[in-house]
Amino acid sequence: MKRFARLFTEIDQTTKTTVKTKALADYFTQAPEADKLWCIALFSGRRPKRAVTTTNLREWAAERAGIPLWLLEESYPIVGDLAETIALVLPPPAQASDHSLSHWINALRGLHDVSLDERKPRILNAWDQLDTTERFLFNKLITGGFRIGVSRKLMTRALAQATGQDEAVLAHKLMGGWTPETTSYHALIEAEDPAADQSRPYPFYLAYQLDEAPVTLGAPEDWQAEWKWDGIRGQLILREQAHHVWSRGEELMTDRFPEFARAADFLPPGTVLDGEIVAWEGTQPMPFSALQPRIGRKTVPKKLLREAPVILLAYDLLEENGADLRDVPLSTRRARLDALLADLPSDAPVRASPVVPFADWYALAVTRAKARDFRAEGLMLKRRDSPYLSGRKKGDWWKWKLDPLTVDAVMIYAQQGHGRRANLFTDFTFAVWQGNELVPFTKAYSGLTDKEFDAITAWVRKNTQQRFGPVRQVRPEHVFEIAFEGIQPSPRHKSGLALRFPRMSRWRHDKTPQDANTLDDLRALLAAYG
């Protein structure tokens, strides 16, 4: 664990990507194979299955530290991270040890085989052998969310440096459903057969937001336009009589969307499609709110399948007859995609997402303005001669979204953030008027600059009217413009509606609370766009 803790400290002490990459590459060169594999797993969003609840952890830590539970609970929001809070309150280790990262992970996995009574002494014993940094990491293994300033991309680059392999090839090897329990470092990284895992998806190519006018992209004839759908980005894989559906977050969603089982009736094995999963009614997508109930469910009740059937609106063909097409230009991939999907019956779970024709950028801007009529969020612009790259790379794919919807709202509650934002008020609740009453309708956390967060934090501290645990009611004085991508009915909320991707787009110093919008204004937006 000392080696891993040293790696963490080196990464944590710098903001420079080159230094982080070097530290990781050194780790990949020196660490034992089992540790390397877990390191790759942790930085690609995999972690050991949770064996202990955070409630247990809090109780045991408070007991071990000799403090009441409430004191630990009060410290947590100030520290901003539970794993760290626990690491900090515990007494110094009684006996130092230097077991490996995988030793401790195996210890955690072993907890599943023993009773709850037996888990506690094992955790206490671990804490007693680890110093503060090692404990923090150990606790992070349990509480999850291993975000310590290392992206998957950075980790992949470091691994490429350490192994001499191509970064894109490695990125592909790291995709899919592997865990350190099901593979080895050798099989995953060093073995030559990348087709070993038939379910393995390709790394998704991600678009950048287009902030300038599209005319800056050059000649319109070099570009292809498509609707930007508001669904779930997904990859549909048909190989050897089986099908797999992957989300962009590399979650296997095959069971969640049983509709795609029928894709194999229409499409040959050795086919991989990239597209957007949407709920579909006849000729167009349903609003995102129809798809939402299906996202969280691993098994889908029949009623929901009937009410919100999904299809894939495919816009790219990554593999055809088992051949990787990613280096072929988009125009060719698109032609083959259209040919492949041309004769599909209308009840097939896959359709081609249409290309939106346009003569010039102005005409396209006019079309884009109508995106909401097509249940789209805007347009995608893709360079016709571009290969299918991996990850977020600038230049070939752009999302050109509609301007968000906005309302002016009054801040009424504030709460401190977590992690880097601990001790800063960053989480706010906003309200609009209904008669003389302010009705809360959304929360928002982002959109302000660090300076603005500092300013609002100082203000919240001086203008707190009441505290409800961590939540502070503040004087209704500040108006913010809230931008959002969509609006939908929601019986669970007092306002009767819910926003999609709300954020603070501007602090309206020029407005008083009386100038804020009303609930009726929001209802009008709901009627128009919900």
Binding site: D12, E74, V79, G80, D81, E84, V89, F136, R421, A422
Partner: protein, 336 residues
């Protein structure tokens, strides 16, 4: 029951029997001052009383004031109150103030730390009936590593920077922390100071406090010629244009807040060193116990949490409302 020895007013802590205030935040006739930090020694009072050790800095900061010095331990009668000043260990010259009225003893801690930093007069516990304690770091997550360990950590950072041709830029409050750091480190190169730090150095040197040799950075200083330097400057200057003239540099910040990773990262410095002139959690417990006081008034820090804890420990604890800052200002204020 007679009148309490000290009361809490909108100007600060007040002694009715002696008609004086302690560290008041609005102008008063007679102010007893624990130490020279800006939130304790404010301008505008008609008369000041502080330790002989603290007074030069207070005069330096506040200019022309009517002030009188007093030795540690020296008793003085002010009206019906008998007062004396005792080392608080916070910074050179800092004091706790003991106030005795009719056999009742109250002590105002000011800011304090328990460990001996080698420069400040070490903290002395003062037995009392009621103790007014700061609790800037009154949470169990705050425990300090030893000064020796932190010094070794900073020395290693400084040496590594020097070896790679980088200047080491260390952010520290200009009164107290800056001098503590320069006197505890093992020089790996020249020590350069910002003007605000050097001005304080001059005052303390004149008083006889032993500080190492330092070079004040002026517009004429050829900083590039000073290889392997450590620059000690107020934290606010590290991101400014002033800091840019030092070329390739690694930045560090020395503060108790660096114990928390989130705050460390938000500061945006390369390194955070956990070193504070305030008591940590065990230090607060130890001091409060050693005073023998039954009544504890808490101020300056996580007061709600800390007073609740003390009440559970069997003390009679209450919060003093202050304009020093309180819980929420803690990180943004001068406390470090």
């Amino acid at each position: 029951m007679s009148q309490p020895v000290l009361t809490f007013t909108d100007r600060g802590i007040y002694c009715p029997a002696g008609d004086f205030h302690i560290d008041p935040w609005r102008p008063v006739d007679r102010a007893l001052i624990t130490h020279g930090h800006a939130d304790h020694a404010r301008p505008g009072h008609a008369a000041y009383l502080a330790t002989d050790g603290a007074l030069p800095v207070i005069r330096h900061r506040l200019g022309e004031i009517a002030a009188e010095g007093i030795a540690y331990g020296e008793a003085r009668q002010i009206g019906g109150a008998r007062v004396s000043f005792h080392p608080a260990g916070h910074l050179p010259g800092s004091a706790q103030i003991r106030v005795e009225v009719d056999g009742q003893v109250w002590v105002v801690s000011g800011d304090y730390k328990v460990v001996d930093d080698g420069l400040s007069e070490p903290f002395e516990p003062v037995p009392c009936h009621a103790f007014i304690s700061e609790c800037t770091f009154g949470l169990p997550v705050f425990t300090w590593p030893s000064q020796k360990d932190v010094a070794a950590e900073i020395n290693a950072w400084w040496a590594a920077n020097a070896a790679e041709g980088r200047t080491s830029m260390l952010g520290a409050y200009s009164l107290g922390k800056a001098q503590r750091l320069m006197s505890m480190l093992e020089p790996q190169g020249p020590i350069l100071t910002h003007g605000a730090v050097e001005a304080t150095n001059a005052v303390l040197r004149a008083q006889g406090y032993p500080l190492p040799e330092t070079i004040q950075v002026t517009p004429d200083t050829d900083v590039k010629a000073l290889k392997g330097a450590l620059v000690i400057a107020p934290p606010s200057t590290l991101g400014s244009t002033w800091a840019r003239k030092f070329g390739p540099a690694s930045t560090g910040f020395a503060s108790g807040w660096m114990r928390l990773r989130g705050i460390r990262r938000r500061r945006g410095m390369d390194r955070g060193f956990v070193i504070s002139d305030h008591a940590d959690w065990p230090g607060l417990q130890e001091v409060i116990k050693s005073t023998g006081a039954e009544s504890i008034y808490v101020t300056h820090g996580y007061t709600e949490i800390f007073s609740r804890w003390l009440n559970q420990q069997g003390y009679d604890a209450a919060i003093i409302p202050t304009e020093f800052g309180g819980e929420d200002d803690a990180e943004g204020g001068t406390a470090s």
